[in-house]
């Protein structure tokens, strides 16, 4: 179980908090406190700018509060729905402003993805992987980010991107194949 997975008790408690917030907007503060940091970090890792992240985070929570009545439990935590709102807001920002997107990752993430495509995990393999990652398009890199850098489940990725769990799985494996092909070619 990773940081994004919750047990049934947590999900039940969260559903109660969501239902309370649906009835009274002031009750939304529990969810706001609970998820402010993770949403901020999610946005900061994609923008690399503190003030911009604060603006987008505030917009995300406003949209979430305005639309919370539409939220229905579909087997994934409320946070996945919140991340979906954040994901859409970030994409909207980059579309409107034509700004450079940031991809934040750790060295160990590169090692993991190197092993995933059955490459040798050494400095050369990691360098080649970085070059291959840079050749991916924006949509592909977002999936790699969610799956390998943030360790999210396929179900959660599906909710965030707005596709089915199976579709998320297929897309991720297609991107891995793409990476394998890129790695086989000479840079």
């Amino acid at each position: 179980m990773n940081i994004h997975h919750k047990n049934d008790t947590d999900l039940d408690l969260e559903m109660q908090q969501v239902e309370a917030a649906k009835l009274n907007s002031a009750q939304f503060d529990v969810l706001y406190e609970k998820y402010y940091r993770s949403i901020f970090v999610f946005i900061y890792r994609r923008t690399g700018n503190e003030d911009l992240s604060a603006d987008i985070t505030s917009q995300v929570f406003l949209k979430a509060l305005l639309n919370i009545k539409k939220y229905e439990f579909k087997g994934v935590p409320f946070s996945a729905w919140l991340f979906r709102v954040a994901f859409n807001e970030i994409n909207m920002y980059f579309r409107k402003n034509n700004a450079h997107r940031v991809v934040s990752l750790e060295q160990k993430n590169i090692s993991q993805i190197v092993m995933e495509v059955q490459e040798e995990d050494n400095t050369l393999g990691q360098q080649r992987m970085m070059t291959a990652l840079k050749k991916l398009d924006g949509d592909d890199i977002q999936l790699i980010e969610l799956r390998f850098f943030e360790k999210r489940s396929f179900a959660e990725i599906g909710v965030i991107i707005g596709i089915t769990e199976n579709n998320a799985k297929v897309k991720v494996y297609r991107i891995l194949d793409k990476l394998k092909k890129v790695l086989k070619t000479k840079f």
Partner: protein
């Protein structure tokens, strides 16, 4: 290939720095502003001055139309004064 900047091993912001942006009261204020019915929002509080000006202009045009219509109605209702013939 898209324009992507890769940040490797860049630490996340410390909690204190993130928390200074947290403001639930402001969120509720924005929420109330967004959900308040239009007719209950004072005109001067309209976010976009252009919207405010358009509403002001529409009200002005409506006022002028009503004034003109009232005047026309008054003119139509008023009976014509009969000419008096003076007997000598």
């Amino acid at each position: 290939m898209t324009d992507l900047n890769f940040n490797i091993d860049k630490p996340d912001l410390p909690d204190d720095q993130i928390n200074k942006h947290k403001d639930f009261k402001k969120l509720i204020y924005k929420y109330q502003l967004a959900t308040k019915p239009l007719y209950k929002t004072p005109l001067h509080k309209f976010k976009h001055i252009r919207v405010f000006l358009i509403i002001l202009l529409a009200l002005l045009v409506m006022f002028i139309i009503i004034e003109v219509m009232e005047k026309e109605e008054e003119g139509a209702v008023k009976p014509a004064v009969p000419e008096q013939t003076i007997k000598e």
